[in-house]
């Protein structure tokens, strides 16, 4: 484990930001949109096969920070990321890093389901095809089936794989997007409010799926719903005004938070 005294940001953060089996390490990360500092000196580990939630009021920087992990912020011209973020000790902001394979290793599921305007099969097969992950058609069929099964969608779509993905319900589309992310064998899955466009039943299905997938992948989920964070994650990080205020076991955060701002937020007194 890293020396806790090495990081200035820890003066601000309550709880253990480090993880014994860290997959992603973020150190003293600052993010600017022009002159506006959206993330202020954040240090945290994302452990192997852990589900961690980022919570906090709107504008606290949780989505911005999430998007640093697979360099989605590169697509915003005014955005500058400082500090260091590594996956398996490889700096993802190194000039040699190609973001296309990086985004296969660190997949992402967005707030609004965004299936490609293609068939269900092709939505899932797209990633393995462009990354050359399938040996032949039969192998691709296996990847598609396995991914849809893991996303809990196979039973509902196995007889209509050639139907358009956009014809599915919102919840099914989101599970299709999860299947698409899984199909390229990622190490980490980032989820940015993956259920905010879904009804409670579809939400519950996705949450149950997240719980299952947490056995094999590191999952970082940004959510506005504190109850969702409580239900799905083993670890929770609370952000406020760009700062990481507190991080700890979800059980601890929701039963005896250490920082008064965390207490106020989860009790519905700020936000």
């Amino acid at each position: 484990m890293s020396n806790i005294n090495d990081f200035k940001s820890l003066e601000l953060t309550v709880g253990d930001v480090f993880s014994k089996n860290a997959r992603i390490k973020a150190r003293n990360v600052n993010v600017f949109y022009g002159n506006n500092k959206a993330i202020d000196n954040v240090t945290i580990d994302i452990g192997s096969k852990e589900v961690i939630s980022f919570i906090g009021p709107s504008g606290c920087g949780k989505s911005t920070f999430l998007r640093c992990f697979n360099r989605m912020n590169d697509t915003i011209d005014s955005c500058v990321v400082q500090g260091e973020i590594s996956i398996d000790d490889e700096n993802i902001y190194d000039k040699k890093i190609d973001v296309v394979p990086l985004r296969a290793r660190i997949g992402m599921v967005f707030q609004k389901p965004n299936p490609f305007p293609k068939s269900i099969y092709d939505n899932v097969a797209y990633g393995p095809r462009i990354h050359g992950l399938s040996e032949n058609k039969e192998h691709l069929d296996v990847i598609v089936e396995e991914s849809l099964k893991r996303a809990g969608l196979w039973q509902e779509v196995s007889d209509r794989l050639q139907s358009p993905g956009t014809g599915l319900s919102g919840g099914q589309q989101q599970r299709l997007c999860i299947a698409r992310a899984i199909a390229v064998s990622p190490e980490v899955i980032l989820m940015d409010e993956p259920c905010s466009a879904l009804d409670p039943i579809a939400t519950a299905r996705i949450e149950d799926l997240i719980h299952e997938l947490g056995n094999d992948y590191s999952i970082v989920i940004v959510t506005h719903s504190m109850q969702q964070a409580a239900r799905v994650s083993k670890r929770t990080a609370y952000f406020h005004l760009g700062k990481l205020i507190e991080v700890g076991k979800t059980k601890e955060i929701f039963t005896r938070p250490q920082h008064h701002q965390t207490e106020a937020y989860i009790s519905g007194k700020i936000g």
Binding site: I201, A204, R205, E207, D208, H211, Q227, A230, R231, T250, K251, F254, T255
Partner: protein, 235 residues
Amino acid sequence: MENKHIHSSFDNDLNKLNNNLLKLGNTAHEQFDNCINNFGTRNLEEIEKVVGGDTILDDLDDKVQKLGFEIIALRAPQAADLRRIIVALKIATIFERIGDYSRNISNRTKLLIELNYSDLPGVYIGKMGQKTLTMMEDVIESYVNEDDKLAVKVRNSDVKIDKMHTEYYLEIISHMQRKKNFAPTGAHLLFIAKNIERVADYVTDIAEQVYFLVNGNVLSDHRPKADETSLKIPE
């Protein structure tokens, strides 16, 4: 708990809570069973086991309280789930208290052995204990099967224990009045009889919780009571 939640992990949490609660209930039953049995056999080694075993109940109660607290905080349970957790927390505390009474009876049994106690005619501690044990078995069964009819039956049978307690109380006091050196023994016997009567009251409380668990409302009529020890002056 037959209908499964979409969140399978929620079911896992509830099962864990339920399993620990049943373990606590069965251990409380076993402790009480042993303490009543030991009253008759006067086996000091077995009595010490009951006294020492009380910490198991304390630990299980702590576990149930912690699990219930976490489920409320993390799952925001509703309707029957909410009732289940609130009831589990209450019942766990009651089982733990029954354990305290078993320990207390055991400690007093040790003293009675030292006082060379021989059975008092008309006072049947074993019989009173056995009837309470049956109530306890039934109430655990009513919880497991969510059987509110059996729970009501258990609740209404408490009156028999109350009557026995009043009867034994009067008998013990009477004997104490007649035989002055019987006072120390009589005092311990009074406490033991009272402890068993309290255990039966606790079992009744559990029965009422089972009724609430199943129906979502409390039993409206007043529970029948027949313990008159606080109302009668022995002749």
